[in-house]
Symmetry: C2
Subunit: 86 residues, 2 copies
DNA sequence: GCGTTATGTTGTATAAATACAATATTTCTC
DNA sequence: GAGAAATATTGTATTTATACAACATAACGC
């Protein structure tokens, strides 16, 4: 299967929560360097790991991960002129 | 990472749609035997593949996959006495 | 019952995710 | 500016997901 690189908001969400990669890694049960790989989009999490991340942030998987580039959460919340067209 | 086996509703949803594994496999871009492995829960899909399945069925990932055993969709829809207890 | 299609099983091969160590660099605190 | 903590980078090893082939069995149409 040709794997698509997915986009994610892990970095922003993590910083909002004020936790380091090391802390987040311990919580979700992976190596702290794995969090780095995920944040940089160097590879996709397994579905199981995606669920753990989703559970920790209290957000649905689709809010954190996406097949299409993600806009800043701020724009997501208040909307931008652009989205009226689409 | 110790991977949890996830539960899913691929088989029921596929049968509802009246498609064979082979057909579903072609649509989501995997080998038809891979669909078998997923339906039997022998391994979890990648997050990318979960997204494709989600897109095909038009349902959020959380509706198709779960960390906890899934009840039949019929019960999910109409509720059962049990769920009142919490 | 025969042929076809769907599914299950087993085995091997490759690709992708994850772990882990070591080191470099950046950032934060004092 | 020294020291600590956070992040990035590189390299190797292991586990898990996926592909593919071959064959067995089950279900279905005629």
């Amino acid at each position: 299967m040709k794997t698509r690189k997915l986009h994610n908001r892990i970095a922003v969400l993590r910083q909002e929560r004020g936790v380091s990669r090391k802390e987040l890694a311990e919580i979700i049960g992976v190596n702290f360097q794995t969090v780095g790989y995920l944040e940089r989009g160097e590879y996709n999490p397994s579905l199981d790991l995606a669920f753990r991340i989703s559970e920790y942030f209290g957000l649905p998987i689709e809010t954190i991960f996406s097949t299409k580039p993600l806009r800043p959460l701020s724009q997501e919340l208040y909307g931008s002129r652009d989205e009226e067209g689409g």
